[in-house]
């Protein structure tokens, strides 16, 4: 794996931290790292990406900027740029965007694809991911000419490495026969910290009792620069939107700290957060299953504790 490509994703104008973590992971293989970015402003990423050890930035400039809104066309651009630069291994992250683009790219390349990877061994041709919603680790042997990997977001932390990247400009050849037409935004992304990118998550479950009470978590999250998550019960009850659901059928998260408030700790919830660095559980029931598989637990009333925690954090500033 002499050359490896990274699919650059942005959030609110910055390169996602989890993508930079993947760059650092690739550097540990002594690979020459090619960053693929779709951008019409030459040099827009050079400064930022130069801090993290990217060797080459491939700036893909679609002639028609509307093409950027068609995921199938973006995937074609990436594939063309990979061919152009002789990159056969592409890495991205398993977030919403990666889940859309990476399988399209792998399919166009007729290459292998392993999503939600925690490790890749390019010499052994194996990648580790999880199966059965996190109950087992699965080692997958891949073969073929092209290989695509969706890494688990936030699993690797970015490490600084100053290099002046070489910049290659690439103008893709596009013909829109994808049968997909972008029609616009129906609802824009919510503000606040993204769950998959967050270092700290504070989540609420049935113990929150209603939707209004979630403001308690949002307030605390503001002090911690945290994202707010939820159990399925809180979502099914209509207290918070589905995009906040952590778990097997929700988002899979990897924060440094996960604070679970009024969540019992079902296997399905664990499937989404069990790889968190430190798990702190607050529950009034001393027999709550979550207490058996966490790092710190508090037997008590979440309302009292979270409110007090928020106040104390405010005072610390």
């Amino acid at each position: 794996m002499e050359r490896s490509g990274v699919l650059i994703e942005q959030m609110d104008g910055n390169v996602k931290n989890s993508v930079l973590g993947v760059v650092s992971y690739l550097r540990s293989f002594k690979a020459s790292v090619f960053a693929f970015v779709i951008c019409n402003t030459p040099g827009a990423f050079t400064r930022e990406l130069g801090k993290w050890g990217i060797d080459t930035i491939v700036e893909i400039r679609p002639e028609d900027s509307r093409d950027k809104m068609n995921p199938q066309l973006i995937s074609r651009m990436i594939v063309q740029a990979m061919h152009q630069t002789g990159v056969n291994h592409l890495f991205g992250i398993t977030g919403a965007e990666g889940r859309d683009l990476l399988p399209r790219i792998a399919s166009l390349l007729d290459g292998s694809l392993v999503m939600d990877c925690t490790r890749v061994d390019p010499d052994e041709y194996t990648a580790a991911t999880s199966n059965f919603s996190g109950k087992t680790e699965a080692v997958i042997e891949f073969s073929g000419e092209f290989h695509v990997f969706g890494m688990r977001p936030n699993y690797y932390k970015p490490v600084k490495a100053d290099i002046t990247p070489r910049v290659i400009e690439f103008i893709p050849e596009m013909e829109d026969n994808t049968g997909i037409r972008y029609q616009g935004v129906v609802e824009s992304a919510r503000s606040g910290v993204d769950l998959t990118e967050a270092d700290v998550i504070i989540s609420g479950g049935r113990g929150l009792k209603n939707g209004e009470n979630f403001s308690l978590l949002f307030e605390c999250a503001k002090e911690l620069n945290a994202a707010v998550g939820a159990s399925r019960v809180a979502v099914d009850e209509g207290w918070v939107p589905y995009t906040m659901q952590v778990g097997q059928t929700g988002v899979k998260v990897n924060p440094k700290v996960y604070i679970a408030c009024g969540i019992s700790g079902s296997v399905q919830h664990f499937a989404g957060m069990k790889t968190s660095g430190i798990i702190i559980a607050i529950n009034e029931d001393e027999n709550a299953p979550i207490f058996k598989n966490c790092d710190y637990y508090v037997v008590g009333d979440l309302f009292e504790i979270v409110e007090h925690l928020t106040e104390k954090l405010k005072r610390m500033k």
């Binding site: 399919s107 999503m115 073929g144």
Partner: protein
């Protein structure tokens, strides 16, 4: 309109998974229809009711035991089903190849539904492999559909809850997200009616499957081990909060 729904037979999410060999599990657990595929079935059934003369066909690649999953799919509204029988495990590329071949043999599709992810192998890609084989458009994490004779208007959910609208030409592949609908679970009469519905059996070795140079093979399963040592934080509210802040600050270094 011919609507195919790909349904996978997977262990219940609450089942205890016991690894038995290098890469096998004890399959004496409850199996269910992959949860996302239930959303796909529910949507397909709704669309069928909007177009006279339409048909919903459930397709599953799996072992003989997967017949159960097709029975449930038919109880949930599929008119008939196809079991592509194989005792082996197949990666997403082979799976898509087999499903395409079986659908072609059955007459071809106007619309194909899948789930956004199978909860056992967590591949997240079968729909795109299918789309590539057909050369037709694919959209994943679909949370709204509006289908007309030759196009699908869909809304797909992205990062941080963003909802984006796309128009796709038919035929196309739509992968159901959780927000698409509330699965419609069968009533007793539905279950009784489903017993009379047809399950056609196809054998993977007889299908004309497109070859691929790539493969993904599961070689090892390792049970996830819990290695946390829970520490009880005791004390009054003040002391408890102080301890939490200490963990955040000095151990996790996040504040």
């Amino acid at each position: 309109m011919k609507i195919y729904v790909c349904v996978k037979h997977v262990p219940d999410s609450a089942a205890t998974i016991t690894v038995t060999g290098e890469n096998t599990i004890d399959e004496r657990v409850t199996f269910i229809i992959n949860p996302y595929d239930e959303h796909a079935l529910t949507e397909a059934r709704r669309i069928r009711d909007d177009f006279e003369g339409s048909e919903v066909i459930a397709v599953c690649l799996g072992k003989e035991s997967a017949r159960e999953c097709l029975r449930s799919a038919m109880a949930m509204g599929a008119d008939r089903s196809i079991l592509i029988k194989s005792e082996m495990r197949h990666d997403a590329i082979e799976t898509a190849g087999a499903i395409k071949a079986a659908i072609d043999e059955d007459g071809g599709a106007d619309l194909i539904f899948t789930g956004r992810e199978a909860i056992d192998s967590n591949g997240m890609q079968t729909m795109f492999r299918l789309g590539a084989l057909y050369g037709c458009p694919v959209m994943t994490n679909v949370v709204e559909t509006d289908i007309s004779q030759n196009r699908a208007r869909v809304v797909s959910e992205g990062d941080k809850g963003a909802r984006l609208a796309y128009e796709l030409e038919l035929p196309c592949v739509l992968a159901a997200g959780k927000g698409l609908n509330k699965p419609r679970y069968p009533t007793m009469p539905d279950i009784i009616k489903s017993k009379k519905k047809e399950i056609k059996t196809a054998y993977i070795e007889n299908l004309n499957i497109a070859p691929s140079q790539a493969s993904m093979k599961l070689v090892k399963l390792i049970p996830y081990t819990e290695n946390r040592h829970p520490e009880n934080i005791i004390g009054d509210t003040e002391g408890t909060v102080e301890k939490i802040i200490d963990v955040l600050k000095n151990r996790a270094k996040v504040i």
